[in-house]
Symmetry: C2
């Protein structure tokens, strides 16, 4: 089978990942299986499994052999979401009730823990070093990033560099690991593995920035959560950082007042202000730079449909 014919079945591959989630995935605990499946069936773009499968194909591997590894990448993401909803007291996630709302914080904490353990149990029984080590180090990075983000809540002096450091740990690390592990199991050279890891890292930072952007530009229906939710939680997002850096004194003091209190009445004005003061334009420039960086990282990879698909995934972050 040549690389081209493998990628002609890209859509079929993703369907097989979905089939794994719908049918094959099951744990020994009925309540936990139910809570996780409900979250999986609520949707999601499955970008992490896609990147694993494309990275394995880009290195000459046969992606159909790595469907489970790809699925584990999504499941790590899902487990972090289950805990995030406890951490954030979120009401909805992907447009449906958060796990914590329907099952309670107790089951949510345990279900997330169980899912992490279940993934590592399966990964350690199926994959040789360094895959289990990469995944556990990635989970440590994600948690480290989330604690850093929590500490930075309301800190309007957070600069772009500190923001990128948090985004790299909390979000990009799992994209980087998805690409890196795909490249390893696909039989990539050390240079391929590093290139794809760098792709995942830059992709992930752009992805987080896009997520921040949508929080202030999209509507509640497409977001699956309220508009401006990040601002309500006093998170310091990249559109806000860009708007504060470019904005006038009135806007800056409005933002300082909003971030200094608990009153959300000014939220629509702050959202409008971010757009008027150039926060959206600044964020779009940042995203474009990381998308360029992601595509440049792919240079050492042999030309082919998998490489093209990876570049297209990055370009898709430019479309709102």
């Amino acid at each position: 089978m040549i690389a081209k014919s493998r990628l002609e079945s890209e859509a079929d591959l993703y369907e097989q990942v979905e089939t794994f989630f719908r049918s094959t995935f099951s744990t020994d605990n009925r309540i936990i299986t139910e809570a996780i499946k409900r979250m999986l069936s609520a949707g999601g773009k499955r970008l992490r499994p896609r990147i694993t499968l494309l990275s394995s194909a880009a290195c000459g591997g046969n992606p159909v052999e790595h469907l489970h590894l790809a699925a584990y990448m999504e499941l790590i993401h899902v487990a972090t979401l289950v805990h995030d909803d406890v951490v954030d007291n979120a009401q909805t996630r992907r447009g449906v009730n958060a796990t914590a709302v329907d099952y309670g914080n107790r089951v949510s904490v345990l279900a997330g823990d169980y899912l992490f353990a279940w993934i590592f149990k399966n990964v350690t029984s199926t994959y040789a070093p360094p895959i289990p080590n990469i995944l556990s180090a990635t989970l440590a990075d994600i948690c480290d990033g989330e604690v850093l983000q929590l500490r930075a809540t309301g800190d309007l002096d957070l600069g772009v560099d500190a923001y990128v450091e948090v985004a790299r740990k909390k979000t990009a690390s799992l994209f980087a690991a998805s690409a890196q592990c795909g490249a390893i199991v696909g039989g990539g050279t050390p240079a391929d593995v590093l290139a794809l890891q760098a792709y995942g890292d830059a992709f992930g930072v752009a992805f987080q920035m896009k997520d921040d952007l949508l929080d202030v530009t999209a509507d509640e229906r497409s977001l699956g959560k309220p508009v401006g939710n990040d601002l309500t939680e006093r998170k310091v997002t990249i559109p806000l950082i860009e708007a504060m850096a470019r904005g006038d004194r009135n806007f800056q003091s409005d933002v300082r007042r909003f971030y200094g209190g608990n009153d959300n009445a000014a939220l629509p004005a702050i959202v409008d202000g971010i757009a008027r003061q150039g926060g959206l334009a600044g964020t779009r420039e940042r995203i474009a730079a990381f998308v360029r960086q992601a595509k440049q990282a792919l240079e050492p990879i042999a030309a082919g449909t998998a490489k093209t698909s990876l570049a297209n995934l990055a370009d898709a972050l430019l479309v709102e």
Copy 2:
């Protein structure tokens, strides 16, 4: 070095585990390190590391080479405690404020996740299969058992078998893994490994029953939490199961009324009733049976000070 001389330094070995917790243990995240160290410094009997070190010595290994593995067993326990306190809304733990009280639920969830990930990162980079797989399977069992326990809250029809199944998963699995991993790294034969795993399993069930017993017999100071706390949380413990099985109708209906409501005024009467109706005596018999089973499991192990120490640890569960 012969087995005897190794075990003459048993106290020194445990001191080295404490030194690891006090000095060597550190993560990349300052807040998480602080939260975990505070919990470690609050004490605990370190039974899991002891069992790992003794099991390695009992199989002819040199326990000083396995101090980190032993410490990871305690850290898995600590990570589950950090999450338990979120799950249980606990106010105190080991006599000091619960992590969730001082750091908030958000940091507690993330600190527990980070610690799990940190442990797996270190275990997968240091230990060959099957150690990483045993530890992740154990964590899955612990969470499975905790969800089962949560579902059984207030269920006065829970029988002894169902109780033991929960205790086996939630508590005994980590003792069994501590013994099993110690035996493996100590170079034990397959029969040694199975024998020590069985020891840990029976020890762990007896340990959980003893924990349940102390909840209704000890004082708040020695418990580090309020007396009858399990009953306040409507957990179905072994002294209660034994008392209900042996008790008169008046006691049974008092318990059903207490477990059917939220009023804790009758707590002292229920605690007294458990003693009067034979719940403590029944529990002591159960503990003795599991302690005998733990010591019988050690039969295939070569005689020596490590084996004696393991038997003594089991016997210590008979002392209140």
